[in-house]
């Protein structure tokens, strides 16, 4: 049974961290090079607010903005790196909070930058193979909780957000095909190393490391090898898009828009030039949210919808890439 994206909403926490706030904290940071990243403000999860609280808020927004009866949801999929409890699954707790019906399947998964496109595939999968008709796909990122206070790069790039997407069964296919790949040997390039099963927190977990570019973090905090991830992206994403277009029978001029995960405007512009996408089709949309990990694609899609740009018949290439290292893309038809 085919599936399509029916509706999208998102939630941003209230606390804002602007570039003025950033430069007060890091007065020696190089403004002209940071400007190339393309962020002017971002939000941070509030004290006492959990990832599931944000996902809950995004779901309520979806129901309200799109006049959706929660009782019509027969599957909930959550992507979340910060569960409320070791067990039970946070997605089950959310099911209860959202007062969804009993005849509803629920599961969650852990993924980052690739999560949304994976989520669309999983939603389509449960529609096709498990008889679901209305799948609520929720994402939530509270990555700012993991940053070291002196980690200039992460504080500039990332923001927190949650998104809610309704994927429904459809008479015509609105998603696919998918092209995906993984380089698990690159797992250390984006990591919070200590604090879970492999490396429990020890007294060395919070000893400061300074990388070759002067950025500070620790093993107990989030760390990203920016240059390594940039190289990974430019070496894997263009070939993935070529493969996707070929698999879809499309030329690179056929899609109406290209909505990629939004980690860094400079990276995405480099990708756009390498792939050869015209500027007017390539969406840059994260200036006021930052890199919100799993939510960058749905936030950009929601804005396109609000602008009336996703009329019936519109085709959009979606691509997620990053932590894992992983990459995945699909074509969404509206």
């Amino acid at each position: 049974m085919p599936a399509k994206i029916h509706a999208i909403s998102y939630y941003l926490p209230t606390a804002e961290y602007t570039n003025e706030d950033f430069y007060s904290e890091f007065p020696n940071a190089n403004r002209s090079s940071l400007e190339k990243i393309g962020v002017s403000s971002r939000r941070r999860v509030g004290k006492g607010e959990t990832a599931s609280d944000m996902a809950y808020a995004a779901a309520l927004r979806l129901f309200e903005e799109h006049n959706i009866d929660p009782q019509t949801i027969d599957f909930l999929i959550l992507v979340n790196l910060e569960p409320d409890y070791y067990t039970p699954p946070t997605s089950c707790v959310l099911h209860g909070r959202l007062k969804l019906k009993k005849q509803c399947g629920v599961f969650e998964y852990n993924h980052g930058c690739s999560a949304y496109v994976y989520g669309l595939g999983l939603a389509e999968g449960v529609i096709h193979s498990m008889g679901a008709t209305n799948v609520l796909l929720l994402t939530s990122s509270v990555l700012t909780n993991t940053f070291h206070e002196k980690d200039r790069n992460s504080k500039y790039i990332f923001g927190d957000a949650a998104s809610a997407t309704l994927v429904t069964s459809s008479s015509e296919s609105g998603l696919g095909p998918y092209v995906y790949g993984t380089n698990g040997s690159g797992y250390e390039k984006i990591i919070v190393e200590d604090g879970h099963a492999r490396n429990p927190i020890t007294e060395t977990s919070f000893e400061e490391d300074i990388d070759e570019y002067g950025n500070i973090s620790t093993q107990g905090n989030f760390k990203m090898d920016g240059v390594g991830v940039f190289l990974f992206s430019i070496h894997n994403v263009p070939s993935m898009i070529s493969e996707l277009l070929e698999k879809s029978g499309l030329s690179k001029d056929d899609p109406d828009y290209y909505v990629f995960h939004q980690p860094n405007r400079f990276l995405n512009e480099t990708l756009r030039k390498k792939i050869g996408v015209p500027q007017e089709k390539f969406v840059h949309d994260f200036e006021h949210t930052g890199n919100t990990v799993q939510a960058t694609i749905p936030i950009a899609l929601k804005h396109l919808m609000d602008q009336g740009k996703l009329k019936p018949g519109t085709t959009v290439v979606l691509a997620g890439f990053g932590v894992g290292l992983s990459w995945i893309s699909t074509v969404a038809r509206f």
């Binding site: 190089n30 190339k36 430019i234």
Partner: protein
């Protein structure tokens, strides 16, 4: 392949915070004021889009000067 002067001019243009003429062939690019990972990304992106050349992190670490970077790109392309 561009001359070293053309290469330097393109690097300066991309690193738009630095004054024109401030880089020479013997400059150590790490001496660029507030050298950061963003500068490294800019050089890598320039190599990709202008010269269709994939610089690695290791290449950047092993080169000291603009001349060495230029020579590396030129030698691998020919």
């Amino acid at each position: 392949m561009d001359t070293i002067e053309e290469f330097i001019s393109k690097v300066e243009q991309e690193l738009d915070g630095i004054p024109k003429g401030s880089l020479t062939a013997q400059s150590n690019y790490r001496d660029i004021p507030e050298w950061s990972s963003m500068h490294a990304l800019i050089i890598i992106a320039l190599a990709e889009t202008e010269y269709d050349f994939s610089l690695t992190g290791e290449d950047l670490r092993s080169c000291q000067t603009v001349q060495q970077l230029y020579d590396l790109i030129k030698s691998r392309k020919s």
